[in-house]
């Protein structure tokens, strides 16, 4: 019993996965929040009266516009929302890597199943939209 309790307290290689997942989630939430705040600030400061978009752009288009010189308020907000939606996907990807480091084959497979379902659905949705 004492041994068991010790093993849960020490941050061995077993718990590397916890730290990685935690970092990925924090990164996703705070970067997307920052992008949305930036988008709102640009909107208020530039006072652009762009009409509200009637359909959502393709993620690739958002990415292209984000790194162009003509980055606007709507693009920044979309980038934030998309990054937020992709954060859980990144978290599952991290689990795949983490469980392979822990050599837990069964859970590499479980994580892969979740990842494949999410990605398949993501691309299928985009295909449907296009």
């Amino acid at each position: 019993m004492t041994l068991e309790m010790k093993s849960t307290e020490s941050p061995g290689p077993q718990h590397v996965i916890n730290r990685w997942i935690s970092h990925v989630l924090r990164f996703g939430v705070w970067s997307s929040a920052a992008l949305m705040v930036a988008g709102l600030l640009v909107h208020w400061l530039s006072r652009t009266v762009a009409p509200a978009p009637t359909e959502n752009p393709a993620p690739g288009e958002v990415l292209r516009r984000l790194f162009s010189t003509s980055v606007d308020d709507v693009t920044l907000m979309y980038a934030g929302l998309l990054l937020l939606m992709l954060t859980p996907v990144l978290r599952v990807l991290t689990s795949v890597v983490g469980f392979s480091v822990e050599r837990d084959r069964r859970f590499v497979v479980v994580s892969l199943v979740v990842l494949v379902m999410l990605l398949a659905e993501f691309f299928f949705s985009l295909h449907l939209a296009a």
Binding site: E4, M5, T8, E9, H15, I17, N18, R19, I21, S22, H23, L25, R26, G28, V29, S32, A33, M36, V37, G39, L40, H43, W44, A52, P53, T54, E55, N56, V74, M77, Y78, G80, L81, L82, L84, M85, L86, T87, P88, V89, R91, V92, S95, D104, F107, V110, S111, V113, V114, M117, L118, E121, F122, S125, L126, L128, A129
Partner: protein, 271 residues
């Protein structure tokens, strides 16, 4: 977007996020009615906005809980297969239904959430500590309140997977997290301690919500001018709710919200 609508969305997000976190319901249960009733947003847009806010609060909370190892990672990942299947079906179904129909289904959900809350205050307290040691997914965590290490195993996994499909389906259909159904199931059926059940459920919610969020996005229901302030508000509100929760405990609060839920339910039904 006018400054007044921005402020309404942001502060509406803060209030719904705070209440959601205080009651362990997540933001969606209050955000969807707020957007639909107070802001007059079409149901599909309200749900799409809520589902993205749910991803934010779930991820922020999970970052903390995973680090503290309160989350049962393996059990959660396995259940995610079930919730994601349910969520995809829910998201597809929602986009085939009309706004008024979705509002009525949401009204029924609020009614059942109100009943779950009454049942939770009466039933779950006495069940605490009833953990089993001869199941699967052995896990242990440090309970910060008592300072002890709680070890447990998980029983009857297939049954909880079934509940998870339904919870995922409701999540995708109505834009809520679904923890109100999963947490009692994990605790009562599988014998997972309440704190670990709540943390593991919250951990799964991000992935579940992402699954249906893509569908709403593809259908063009996500307006960045509405979603950005609302999501930021809910995120801030959830932190506020958690810190208030550490100070105030009481069943009077629960009863007050049961009344609110019932009123909102009636309002949603005859919208």
């Amino acid at each position: 977007m006018s400054l007044s609508s921005f402020l309404l969305l942001f502060f509406g997000g803060i209030v719904t996020g705070t209440f959601g976190a205080m009651l362990g319901l997540g933001g969606g249960v209050f955000l969807v009615p707020f957007l639909a009733l107070a802001f007059g947003l079409p149901m599909h847009q309200a749900i799409a906005t809520s589902i993205v806010a749910v991803i934010a609060t779930s991820s922020a909370g999970a970052a903390m809980n995973v680090e503290r190892r309160v989350v049962n990672l393996r059990f959660g990942m396995l259940l995610e297969i079930a919730t994601v299947c349910g969520a995809i079906l829910g998201g597809v179904t929602a986009n085939l239904l009309s706004g008024p129909t979705l509002a009525r289904i949401f009204a029924v959900l609020l009614l059942s959430v109100a009943f779950m809350m009454i049942w939770r205050t009466r039933r779950l307290k006495s069940e605490d500590g009833a953990t089993s040691q001869n199941g699967t997914f052995p896990s242990s965590f440090r309970d910060e309140a008592t300072g002890t290490v709680v070890s447990y195993t998980v029983r009857r996994v297939p049954l909880v997977m079934l509940v998870s499909i339904v919870a995922g389906n409701i999540s995708g259909l109505l834009g809520i997290g679904g923890g109100i159904f999963k947490v009692p199931a994990m605790h009562m059926i599988s014998g997972v301690p309440m704190k670990a059940a709540a943390a593991t459920s919250n951990f799964m919610i991000g992935v579940t919500a992402a699954a249906s969020a893509f569908i709403y996005f593809a259908h063009g229901h996500l307006n960045p001018f509405i979603a950005s302030p609302a999501v930021l508000g809910v995120l801030g509100g959830s932190f506020l709710g958690i810190s208030i929760n550490r100070r105030i405990k009481g069943t009077a609060l629960t009863w007050a919200f049961v009344v609110v839920l019932l009123l909102v339910s009636v309002k949603m039904f005859w919208r």
